[in-house]
């Protein structure tokens, strides 16, 4: 049981890191960015490619991948979101344009095999791969019957530190105040002289960089990198997390991530089958019906 709770905390931190980026965009721009899961996947794929195909050390590859994912965020903003804002399109249309981008990203990776256009990025088509053994040291400790892995421990620390930093930036810095102003009231922010488009662009950059980081950590710790890790493994769960935590709330997304991890694991231990996944979504349904503001909504009402 203790092992299962450790498992829950670990997967919870991946969910949280993924969902923080998701919820950040929703909080500031009021749109659901469905390309976020594709960026998550690319974070893992780019890191893998730099390590396995181009021979870079893991840390350097990871930094580059996170930056590239941030740039992809800018691409999402400029291709799929800004044109729609300029046309005053309803927020729902952003759903469609980001789905379009996600399709493109996934298809590019899925079709990349040796000798094709994108073979510099990926050579394994629809297959699942993992980092070459030894690329990242992974000491595994067995303490009192529990298995604790170095990478998972590192990921836990990384995600908590990052989320604290993000929380600090948003609460206490100039940029953070501008961000919150835009999130609260876009029109008032414009009147205050805040460059809203720049805030949007930097939101997308940060959100996508976090998404990419979550993806590469996922690929590292779970030995699974494929074109589908974002779409199949985390996308819907990410949605569940940001709803559990209250849409647009960052502390909510963090708590929601750990909560979902825990609910899933407990349901699995209790029922021992994929009722577990059903339980997570039933919880989502119930939370929305009973507390539309999210589980922590009352205390964390303020956005972000």
């Amino acid at each position: 049981m203790t092992q299962q709770i450790l498992n829950a905390i670990f997967i919870g931190s991946i969910y949280a890191l993924f969902a923080v980026g998701y919820t950040l965009v929703f909080g500031v721009l009021d749109v659901l960015n469905l390309a976020h899961s594709a960026v998550f996947m690319l974070g893992a794929v780019i890191t893998y490619s730099l390590v396995a195909l181009h021979g870079l050390p893991f840390i350097l590859a990871a930094v580059i991948a996170v930056l590239v994912c941030g740039l992809l965020g800018l691409l999402i903003e400029h291709v799929a979101l800004r044109p729609l804002r300029r046309r005053n399109a309803p927020p729902i249309s952003a759903l469609i344009s980001t789905i379009g981008l996600a399709l493109i990203f996934v298809a590019i990776v899925e079709q990349a095999t040796p000798g094709t256009l994108f073979s510099w990025l990926w050579q394994d088509g629809a297959n699942s791969v993992r980092f070459p053994t030894g690329a990242v040291p992974n000491p595994t400790y067995h303490v009192a019957g529990l298995t604790i892995e170095g990478t998972k421990l590192g990921i836990l620390v990384t995600s908590i530190v990052l989320m604290l930093v993000l929380g600090y930036v948003i609460r206490f810095t100039q940029v953070g105040r501008a961000l919150r102003a835009v999130a609260e009231n876009r029109r008032a922010a414009i009147l205050l002289g805040i460059n809203v488009n720049r805030i949007f662009a930097s939101t997308l950059f940060v959100s996508s960089a976090l998404g990419g980081l979550a993806g590469l950590l996922f690929g590292l710790a779970l030995s699974d990198i494929s074109p589908y890790i974002g779409r199949d493994q985390v996308e819907l769960k990410g949605l569940a997390v940001i709803v559990l935590g209250g849409m647009g709330s960052i502390p909510g997304a963090v708590l929601g991530g750990y909560l979902l991890g825990l609910v899933e694991v407990l349901a699995f231990v209790r029922f021992g089958s994929n009722v577990e996944a059903g339980v997570a979504f039933a919880a989502l349904f119930l939370v929305l019906v009973i507390r539309p503001q999210g589980l922590f909504g009352a205390r964390l009402r303020e956005r972000l």
Binding site: F26, A80, A89, S93, I96, S97, G100, A107, V275
Partner: protein, 307 residues
């Protein structure tokens, strides 16, 4: 291009070799209409995939275990979907916008993963074979149903009910203060949507031989949403055109072969950027123009897109 060449030079041959595609377009159009009805009343729901599952599984299970004639099975599936719609609608309809959408995602996945995969009668992950499937005969009821469904929904939008839906969509508070019973009208739209989705699900089992849980996931729900939004949601023609366009797209661009999904995605983005209000909507078709070029009818297009 072969697609269009055959369509225009040899329509009979085209029909014979694309019956299943045409049937699928019909199904998807009915699904898109089911989403349109709720959308028209100002609700964004993704529950349709779940209602489809109810319609489909009920029909197939009845065909397998009961001696009832096929139309009865389909009717039962459709009505049961409506009933589930009522039960789901009661708690969720006070939610708005994206919250409603996500609650319905919760419903769809809880039904699929929690219920269907764990009830032996549904065949669980194995799925169920439909004993009365007839892929080529199955197209007839679909082609007959689509215009009837479209006509009924079009008529509905012109009645008092339709006007009430419009009013709710434009401004729920104002509608309420004008004496419109908002919860009832929303519920009616939600149930009609559920019934149509259940009907489409029941019909679809007859062109596919087989029901299995993977088909009724959120992916499917989002696909239905794409049909409706890309086609346009100001009148019932929009979802039909959207379903027609997006269902046949993979066949049309088959030559693009391995990078088909890239082309798919690019087209989706272009459509939504240049026609944010959907393909079928007021506001003219060619909207590709520089920012400074404002035409008088553009503002009307914006008004149409604002809701």
């Amino acid at each position: 291009m072969d697609f269009f060449i055959q369509l225009f030079t040899d329509p009979v041959g085209f029909y014979n070799s694309h019956e299943l595609l045409i049937a699928q377009i019909g199904i998807n159009a009915i699904l898109a209409i089911s989403l349109f009805v709720t959308f028209y009343s100002g609700q964004l729901t993704l529950a349709n995939a779940g209602f489809m599952a109810v319609g489909a599984y009920t029909t197939v299970i009845m065909s397998l275990y009961l001696p009832t004639p096929l139309p009865v099975d389909i009717l039962a599936g459709t009505l049961l979907a409506g009933l589930v719609g009522l039960l789901v609608g009661l708690p969720v309809l006070r939610l708005r916008g994206i919250f409603l959408a996500i609650a319905t995602i919760g419903f769809v996945e809880a039904l699929r993963l929690g219920v269907i995969l764990n009830l032996p009668i549904t065949g669980e992950g194995q799925g169920l074979k439909n004993p009365s499937a007839d892929p080529l005969g199955g197209i007839v009821p679909i082609l007959v149903s689509l215009p009837i469904v479209a006509y009924i929904v079009w008529r509905l939008t012109r009645t008092k009910l339709g006007h009430a839906w419009s009013a709710i969509r434009e401004d729920e508070l104002a509608a309420s203060s004008n004496g419109i019973n908002v919860p009832i009208y929303k519920m009616i739209a939600f149930i009609i949507g559920a019934v149509l989705a259940g009907y489409a699900g029941a019909l679809e089992t007859h062109i596919n031989f087989f029901v299995d849980p993977t088909e009724y996931s959120v992916t499917r729900a989002i696909q239905i949403l794409t049909f409706a939004v890309a086609g346009g949601t100001t009148n019932v023609l929009g979802p039909i055109v959207g379903a027609l366009f997006l269902t046949s797209l993979p066949e049309i661009i088959r030559q693009a072969s391995s990078y088909r999904d890239v082309v798919n995605g690019v087209i989706l983005i272009l459509v939504i950027i240049f026609r944010p209000q959907g393909i079928v909507a007021r506001g003219g078709f060619a909207v590709i123009r520089p920012r400074w070029w404002r035409t008088p009818w553009r503002s009307r297009g914006r008004a149409a897109s604002a809701h």
